[in-house]
Symmetry: D2
C-alpha cells in the first residue's frame, strides 16, 4: 500500500466530511492507495491549527497557495465557497496536483472553461492530472445498482425522468443571509447548490440534456446577515425545469432550498416501458423497482435494500440491509479518486462533465429570465 | 325523505360506479333526497335491459333522448365517451333536467361554451338547473381536510404545488386502441382523461391557473383495435406542464397513461412557508402534514388517517381509519348533488369550473405545439 | 334474478354497514340473488322506524321475535351486542331462517355449542340452513390473494405467523363505559372484539391453533358510563398469546383496544422458507411479498396493489389500484352469503368455525389466569 | 488531545467495523481522546499482518495474550466468537486494561459472573477499569431521542412494548454451518446473536425484565459445514417470548435468523397512554411518534428524521436528515468509551448490564424447555 498526500482547503460542512472519509478510507477499502491527511488550509492560522487537530491533519496552514506548492501534497481538495473554486483549481493544476473539487465546479460555464483551459494546458506538457468533482450522491451503491439496471435494458425504453433535490434549510425567513445567497460568492442559489446534484444524477443515469424550459422564484427576498444587516437575497430559492434529454426522453427537474419538511429530498422516478425505478435519498439504502415481467397478481413496486449485490457495499459491511450513511458516500468517492490515480479508472464526474452541469444551470437561468425553451450549449 | 329520479346514460366503467353510488346513497347519508334508479340508457336494447337489471335500474332504454324526456327523470347522468357529453348535456338542459356529467366536461373549451350557452339560455327563463361534473376525487374526505387546512392558513404562504395523475393502463403496447386514443371521440389523451383530475384538484386547492408551459409525448404511436386493425394513436400518452397560479404560486402538473407501475397515481405535494401537505390517491385514506410549529426534535411528516374529523367520513363508519374506497367517493359526490338540489349547496365542480379545466387543457395543447409559455384564456 | 328478504336486528355501528352492503350488493355483483331490505328490528319503535327509513328498509319493528317469524324474511342478520347473539340465533334457526351473525358468535364456547345444537336439531329434520359469521376482513380481495399465494406453496414451509388487531378506541380514559366493557354483555374485551378478527384470520390462513400461552391486562380499570356512574371495567384492554398451530407453526397473536395511534391495526406477517407475506388493514389494498426466487440485486418486499387478479375486486372497478374501502368488505361478505344460499358455496366462517374461534378465546382467558400453556379444546 | 492505544482481537465482520470506527473517530468527534490502532490479534501471523495493514493497525500479532500485555495497549477490544470472550476479557482485566467486548458478553450467565468476579477482584486493588459491551444499536441518535422522549414522560404510562430483531441470514438451508450454530462456540443461536440486541434495547428503554415465557424452534436442523460435513444445528433459529418488565409493562420479544426478507429487522413499538413510539433499524434515521396531544384532524404517526436535536448527530453532519449508517453507530459507541475513560461518563451497556442480558437469555432457554413462565434471576 502506498500513501498519497492530501491537502484540503476548507474545513466547513463538507470539509469535515472529506476529513472523515480520508481517515476511514483505508479501513473500509484497504487500498489500493492510502490517503494521508497532510495539510489543512483555512482562512487564518488559528482556525487552521484547531481544525487540523480536530480532523486529524498533520498541519494547519493559513495560506492555501503555499500548501498547494508543498511537496508532500499529491491531491488538492477544494471545499471552499463556490467563488473560490476556480482560482484554487487553476493554482493546483499549475502546481501539477490532482484536483478534487467540491460541486458545483465553479460559478458558471465561463469559469468552468477557464479551469478546463488550465488543465488542457498542463496536460499538454505533463502527465495528465486526475480531476474529480464532489458529486458524492452518485457514489451511493443504490445509484450504482440503478445505473446497472438501466444499462441492462431491464427498464425497456425510458419514457420519463422526474428528478429533484429539494430541502428546507432556508425555509425559515430568520435563517441568516449566508454566502449561498450572494451572486458573487455562490453564483446561483438552489440551482447550483442542490440543483447541480439532481442534474448530475439525471445526466449520470439518462445522458445529456439538450433543451429545457425553466422557471425560478425568490421566496424570501431579504435576510439578515450575521452582523444584523438586512441584505437582499440575490439568487433563486426554488427552480424547476422541463427538459429533453439527447435520447428524446421527457424529463422534469426541480430544486428548492425552501421546501418545508424536506431534509434531503434528492430523488427520482424513472419510467420505462418494461420497468420503473424510484429513489429517495432520505431512504438512501432503498431502491424501488416495478417490473412488468412479474406474473399477474405478483406485480408491485419492490423495495430493494442495499446488499453486497450493490457495488462498493461489501467493503462496509457483509450483512445485507445494514445501511450506509451520508458520510459513507464520501468514502466511496475518495475510493473512486484513489482508483483513478492508481489504475486510471473513470470518476463519476470529472471537470468536463462538471462543465456540462454548469451549462445546464446557466441555461436554466437564461430560460427563466426569457421565459422560453432554450437549447443547452 | 323525497325520491328523485335518476336517468343514467352509459353503463361502462364509470356508469357502474354511478349505479353503486345511487343504490348505496340512502343507507350512507340517510337523505335529504333519495336517488332512485329509474332508467338506464345504453347503445342497444339488449345491453340496456341486462345492465339495468344488473345495476338495479327500473328500466333499460336504447334511446337516451327519449329517456331524457321522461317525466320520472329528474337528473340526467352522462357517463358516455367524451364526444357525446355535449349533445347529451344540451338535450338534458333543454328538457329542464339537472345534469351530472362525467369529466371531462367536453372535447374542448369550445364545446364547453356551447353547453354553458344552453344552460344560460334555459336558466334565463326557468328555475335554474343544478349542474355538476364527475370529479369524484375531490369528494375524498382527505381532500376536504386538505382544503380546510389550506383555508385555515396553517400552511403559511403557499410557495409550490406539484401535482400529477399518472397511471399505466396504456403502458403495454398490446393494449388495444380504444375511444380514448381517438381525437374525435376523446379529444385529448392523458390530458383530458387523468390530467383533468389533477388540474381540477390544483384549482380546487390553490385557485386559478393563469399561465403555463407544457410538453407532450406519444410513446406508443400505433395500437391494434378490437377488430385487429392497426390504428394511429391520435393524442398524447403523457404530458407535463409548468404552471403559475393567479396567486403567483409556482406549480407543476403531470399526467400519463403509460407510467409503468402507477395504478392510481393522483397526488400532490403542497409546500407552504409554515407547513407542507402531501397526498397520494393510492393511499387515499392518508394525508401527510409537516408542521414547522412542532417543537424541535418532534418535527416530521405526520400521516393523518381518515376519521370523523374529515368531512363526510362518519356517514360511512364511526371508527377512525376504517378507510373509504374509490366507489365511496362517488357516493359522496352523489350526496353533493342531492344537497345542491335540496339545499342549493355548492358542488365541487360545476360546468363553469369544468370549462376552466378545459381551458387549461386547451392551453397545454397549444403550448406544447408552439413550445412556449401561454396565458390561459 | 331472485329476491331474498333480509331482516336485520340492530342498526348501530355494524348494522349500518349491513344496510349499505345489502343496498349496494346488486349493483356491484349483479346477482345471483338480490338481497332486499325488508325489516329492521331495534330496541323501540321510534328508533326502528327512523333507522329503517334512513337505512332503506321497508319497515322498522320493535320486536325482533315477531320479525323473525315474518314470512318475507329469509335471512336473519344479527348485529346486536354479543350477549344477544345466542338467543336471537337460536330463535332464527328454530324459525327456519338462514342466519348471518356478527362476530363474535357468542359470549363463549358454551353458548356457541348451544347455537350449534339448535342448528343440528333443525337440520336433522329440515333443509339445512346457511350460517355465516361477520368476519368481514376475510373477504378482502388481498386476503383472498394471500390465501391463494399460501395455497400455491410459493411461501415454502411456513415457519412463523405474527398477527394482531390493535386499535386505540378505548385508549382515552375519558371514553365512557360501554357494553363492550361488561362481562355480562360482551364476554371478553379486546379478545372477543378485535382478537376474534385476528384469530379468524390466523386460522383462515394457517389452520387450527392447538395450544397457546396468553397474557392479559386491564389498563384503565374504571370508566364513567353515560349516566355519570363510575364503573369497573370487567374485561381485558389488551391481550397477547404465543400459539402453536396444528401444523407446528410458531405464532404470536396480539390484540388491544388501548394501542394509542392504531386505528385499524389488523395485520400479519407470515414467514415462509421461500417467501414472506405481510398485510396491514390500515393499507387494506396492499399486500407485501418477498420472494427468495427473485434474482440477486432484485430481491425486496414488493407492494402488490389490489387489481382484477384478486378475487372479487373486478366487481367493484375495472381499474387496478382503485382501492376498496372498509364497507366494501361487507358487500363481498353479503355476496358470499348469496352464493352460499344460491349455490351451496362455502362461507369464510360458519358457526362451527366461529365456535373454534370462541375456543381459542376461552383458552386465552384460561391460560392468562393460570399463567400457563394450555391446549385448545 | 491525548492518544489511547487500542488492541483489537478479531478482524471478522465486526472487527472491521471496529477498525473503521477507531480510524474515523477523531475526525468525527475531535476528541477528547484519540484512539490509535496499535495492534490487531488474529488466529495466525499471516492473517494478522494482512488485516493490520488493511485496517490501519500498526502491527498484527498472532498471540492475543502477548498483545494484551503490551504497554502501548490501553484498551482491549474483543471481537471474536462468543466462546472466547470470557477468557480474553478476564486476561485483559488481569492485565489492567479497559475492556470493550462484543455482544453477547459470554456464553451464559455463569460465564458472565466469572468475568464480573475478575473485574471486582481487580478493581478492589487497582484503579477501576472501564468496561463496555458492543451493543452499538443503542448508540443510534434516534434511540437516544427515543430514550429522551420516554424520560420526558411524553408517552404517559407505557402499556406495551413489542420488540424484535429478526433477520434472514440463515434462512437459506444451503448457508453453511458456522460457529453461530454450535452450542460450544456460540451458546444460543438467534437469542444470543440478535435476541441480545432487542433485549438490550428493551431494557435500555423500559427497564429490567422480571419474568417471561418463551418458545423456540430449530427450523433447519442440519447444515453442511465448509468442509462438506453435514452437522446438526445445535441452537434455536427463532425464538419468541412474552415478558413482564419490573414496572409491570407487558412486552413481547422476538428474534429469528430465518425471517425471510428481513435484513436488519431490529425494531420496536412502544404504546403509551399519551403517545406511541416506533422504530425500525432498516430505516435507522427515522423515529415514528404518535401524540394524542395533537389537535383533532391533525393526529397521526409522525416520521421524525435524524437531525441535530438527536444526541451525537451533529458531529457527523450539520444538515438534518443526512442520515447515518450502520458503521456510524460504532463510531458513537467508541466515543462513549472515550468519554467513559476520559470523564467517567456512563456507557450504554457495561458488563453488569451485559450479565442481565445473559440472564434474560438463559431464562428464555429454560422457559422454552419447560414450557412455563419463569422469573428472571
Ligand atoms: N458534496 C456535497 O454534498 C456538498 C458540497 N458542498 C460544497 O462545498 C463547498 C463548501 O461548502 P460548505 O462546506 O457548505 O461551506 P462552509 O461555509 O461550511 O465552509 C467553507 C469553509 O471554507 C473556508 N474558507 C473560505 N475561504 C477560504 C480561504 N480563502 N482559504 C481557506 N479556507 C477558506 C471557510 O472558513 C469555511 O470553513 C461549496 O462549494 C459547496 O457547494 C457543500 C455541502 C455539501
Ligand atoms: N370520474 C372518473 O374517475 C372517471 C370518469 N370517466 C369518464 O366517464 C366517461 C365514460 O368513460 P368510461 O365509463 O370509462 O367508458 P366506457 O367505454 O367504459 O363506457 C361508456 C359506456 O357508454 C355507452 N355508450 C356509448 N354511446 C352511447 C350512446 N349513444 N347511448 C348510450 N350509451 C352509450 C357504451 O356502450 C359504454 O357502456 C368518460 O367521459 C370518462 O372520461 C371514466 C372513468 C373514471
Ligand atoms: N364485523 C365487524 O367488523 C364488526 C362487528 N361488530 C359486532 O357487531 C355487534 C354489534 O356491535 P356494534 O354495532 O358495534 O354495536 P352498537 O352498540 O353500535 O349497536 C348495537 C345495536 O343493537 C341494538 N339493540 C340492542 N339490543 C337490541 C334488541 N334487543 N333488539 C333490537 N336491537 C337491539 C342497539 O339499539 C344498537 O343500535 C357486536 O357483536 C360486535 O362485536 C361491531 C363492529 C364491527
Ligand atoms: N455489535 C454487533 O452488531 C455485532 C457483534 N458481533 C459479535 O462479534 C463477535 C464476532 O463476530 P463476527 O465478527 O461476526 O465473527 P467472524 O467470524 O466474522 O470474526 C471473528 C474473527 O475472530 C477471529 N478469531 C477467532 N479466534 C481467534 C483467536 N483465538 N485469536 C484471534 N482472533 C481470533 C477469527 O479469525 C475471525 O476473523 C461475536 O461475539 C458476535 O456476536 C458480530 C456481528 C455484529
Amino acid at each position: 500500500m502506498q500513501e498519497i498526500g492530501i491537502g484540503l482547503i476548507g474545513s466547513g460542512y463538507i470539509g469535515k466530511t472529506h476529513a472523515i472519509a480520508y481517515n476511514a478510507h483505508r479501513a473500509v477499502f484497504g487500498g489500493p492507495l492510502v490517503p494521508v491527511c497532510r495539510a489543512l488550509a483555512e482562512i487564518d492560522q488559528q482556525k487552521a491549527t484547531s481544525a487540523a487537530a480536530a480532523l486529524g491533519f498533520d498541519r494547519g496552514v493559513s495560506d492555501w497557495q503555499q500548501m498547494i506548492a508543498a511537496d508532500d501534497i499529491d491531491i488538492v481538495a477544494i471545499a471552499t465557497p463556490n467563488a473560490l473554486h476556480k482560482e484554487m483549481a487553476i493554482a493546483a493544476i499549475e502546481a501539477g496536483k490532482h484536483i478534487y473539487i467540491e460541486k458545483p465546479l465553479a460559478l458558471d460555464t465561463h469559469e468552468a472553461n477557464e479551469i478546463i483551459a488550465a488543465l488542457e494546458k498542463h496536460n499538454a506538457r505533463h502527465a495528465p492530472l486526475v480531476h474529480m468533482l464532489g458529486y458524492n450522491y452518485l457514489c451511493n451503491p443504490m445509484i450504482s445498482l440503478a445505473k446497472e439496471i438501466i444499462a441492462s435494458g431491464e427498464l425497456g425504453t425510458i419514457v420519463h425522468f422526474r428528478g429533484r433535490h429539494i430541502e428546507d434549510y432556508m425555509a425559515d425567513p430568520s435563517i441568516p443571509f449566508s454566502w449561498r445567497c450572494s451572486k458573487a460568492v455562490s453564483g446561483t442559489g438552489a440551482l447550483g447548490d442542490m440543483g447541480s446534484h439532481i442534474i448530475s444524477m439525471a445526466m449520470y443515469l439518462i445522458g445529456p440534456i439538450v433543451s429545457l424550459c425553466a422557471d425560478t422564484d425568490i421566496i424570501i427576498p431579504e435576510r439578515t446577515d450575521s452582523n444584523g444587516a438586512v441584505k437582499r437575497v440575490e439568487n433563486e430559492d426554488q427552480a424547476q425545469a422541463m427538459v429533453r434529454f439527447a435520447s428524446g426522453v421527457m424529463g422534469f427537474l426541480e430544486t428548492s432550498r425552501v421546501a418545508t419538511g424536506k431534509k434531503q429530498g434528492l430523488g427520482f422516478e424513472i419510467v420505462g416501458t418494461k420497468a420503473s425505478l424510484e429513489f429517495d435519498q432520505e431512504r438512501m439504502n432503498e431502491l424501488r423497482l416495478y417490473e412488468t415481467s412479474s406474473p399477474n397478481g405478483r406485480k408491485g413496486f419492490k423495495t430493494i435494500l442495499v446488499d453486497s449485490n450493490c457495488p462498493d457495499f461489501k467493503a462496509f459491511c457483509p450483512a445485507p440491509g445494514h445501511g450506509l450513511g451520508y458520510n459513507d458516500l464520501k468514502i466511496i468517492e475518495v475510493n473512486r479518486l484513489m482508483k483513478a490515480i492508481a489504475e486510471g479508472a473513470a470518476v463519476p464526474v470529472d471537470i468536463y462533465q462538471g462543465r456540462n452541469i454548469e451549462m445546464v444551470i446557466d441555461t436554466c437561468v437564461l430560460s427563466a429570465s426569457e421565459r422560453a425553451w432554450k437549447d443547452v450549449r
